[in-house]
């Protein structure tokens, strides 16, 4: 079967989604990321791997943190990074996505990191590059609509492996606004591929997509029941800006039922870790005492995110 993410040798060609990537590729990315974590401790925080390569950050949707971590990752690999803030550029003058891609290719782009509000935009770019015979140019999805955010999913897997060593005995809970979350989709795909036996999804019915049961997860509408004895709690951000219509009561009411507090966390295993993709809404999906508590690994997630993005870029950019 044709997989747009892999080349004819079964190596990573584009990173578009974790869904459809074999376990060997996911594990290879995590293994490659491990030695990159050490680069941050050097006096010169740079490796020469992508020297002379041009990486274009195409952000059609704002995201300071994701864009910054991609930029840091690319710069630590010695690439030249060009940030395009599309909301203030030619798209506003009517240029199509593929025309933008062609123009940047004419400027010798080697790699695109793309964030787009429409699900599938990075696929469209990858398909266009293939159709026009530019197999030496790579696309990394930095979040498309509600569909996928693969590097976030990968850094979450790196974090879990760092603290729990092995995936095969874990119970992992994903909590909150699953409906609007591309992060949740990437996490579920990665967790199941890596062999986590119990993936739970916890949240209100109005924020659950249909067809979750087909993704191999257990759905809970009672947070206390869902958190019982889990090893990992992955909180999702309440996507205020995506919330159209009356899906939800107020933030305070959401917190009362679905917010992670120390008292609810106590139902999980005593050594459970708490993760959050950021930015956090304190007092909405997570209590400050938990976010700043001993079980939270939210800031290490950010640090690991750089190493994981370096790993992906180095795997795509060699040769």
């Amino acid at each position: 079967m044709y997989n747009p993410q892999l080349n004819s040798h079964g190596e990573l060609q584009h990173l578009l989604s974790l869904d459809g990537l074999p376990r060997e590729i996911l594990t290879a990315i995590l293994d490659t990321a491990a030695p990159f974590t050490e680069v941050a401790e050097r006096e010169v925080k740079k490796l020469p791997i992508l020297r002379g390569k041009s990486i274009f950050n195409l952000f059609f949707e704002n995201s300071t943190r994701t864009r910054t971590t991609f930029e840091i990752a690319a710069k630590r690999l010695s690439a030249d990074v060009i940030n395009l803030n599309i909301s203030t550029s030619s798209t506003n003058k009517g240029e199509t996505l593929l025309d933008t891609v062609d123009n940047l290719c004419a400027m010798q782009a080697d790699m695109f990191v793309v964030r787009h509000a429409s699900s599938g935009a990075p696929y469209l770019m990858a398909e266009h590059l293939r159709a026009t015979g530019r197999d030496d140019i790579h696309v990394i999805n930095a979040g498309d609509g509600r569909h996928a955010h693969p590097t976030q999913g990968l850094l979450d897997m790196y974090t879990i492996r760092h603290y729990k060593q092995d995936f095969t005995g874990l119970a992992v809970a994903i909590v909150g606004d699953v409906l609007h979350s591309r992060v949740a989709r990437s996490q579920i795909a990665a967790l199941t591929t890596l062999g986590v036996p119990e993936v739970r999804v916890i949240g209100p019915k109005t924020l659950m997509p249909t067809g979750l049961d087909k993704m191999g997860v257990r759905v809970f509408h009672d947070m206390r029941e869902g958190l019982k004895d889990v090893d990992v709690v992955m909180m999702l951000r309440l996507q205020n800006e995506r919330m159209a219509g009356p899906l939800l009561p107020s933030g305070q009411e959401f917190f009362k039922v679905w917010g992670l507090t120390a008292e609810k966390l106590a139902l999980a295993r005593p050594d459970a870790i708490v993760m959050h993709p950021g930015p956090m809404n304190r007092g909405v999906e997570i209590d400050s005492a938990v976010a700043d508590g001993a079980q939270a690994v939210i800031l290490p997630q950010v640090t690991f995110g750089i190493a994981v993005r370096m790993a992906v870029m180095s795997m795509l950019g060699r040769g």
């Binding site: 490659t32 491990a34 050097r42 006096e43 010169v44 740079k46 791997i49 060699r318 040769g319």
Partner: protein, 167 residues
Amino acid sequence: MPNFPDVDVLLARLIDALKPHITDSTALVGIHTGGAWLAERLHRALGIKPPLGTIDVAFYRDDYGERSLHPQLRRSDIPFDMQDTPIILVDDVLFTGRTTRAALNELFDYGRPARVDLAVLVDRGERELPITARFCAHTLSAPLGKGQRLQLEQSDDATLSLRLIDV
């Protein structure tokens, strides 16, 4: 296949050569994987004061793109201050000199060492860069040729041996 001297004999020779040059501040850095095994033994035998450093030069190789990243990528670990420290870089086999070049680049990303010397178990010649080892236990008299790789191996009981492999 040429007969290689016993690794223990070569190691003893290397220790004797290094001994007069070791000071309290001298640090050892072994290149993964063979060089790191040797450096471990030299570190112990020579009573080196700073903790042992190890580096994986894969990311600094000039043929990085052509080599597969997997399976064995090791973390580089420099547990001492590189700045103004005299360094002895340790590798098992000196060949084209490209690994040494990569290792030098990597070392300097940790700071400016006072000096860097190279110590190797075997110099097989056939250099492609202007690099030479100050300390070398054994020099091959005839070239092996590109199709042969000479490398150090470590058995389960931690015995080191040299092995010639067709590539």
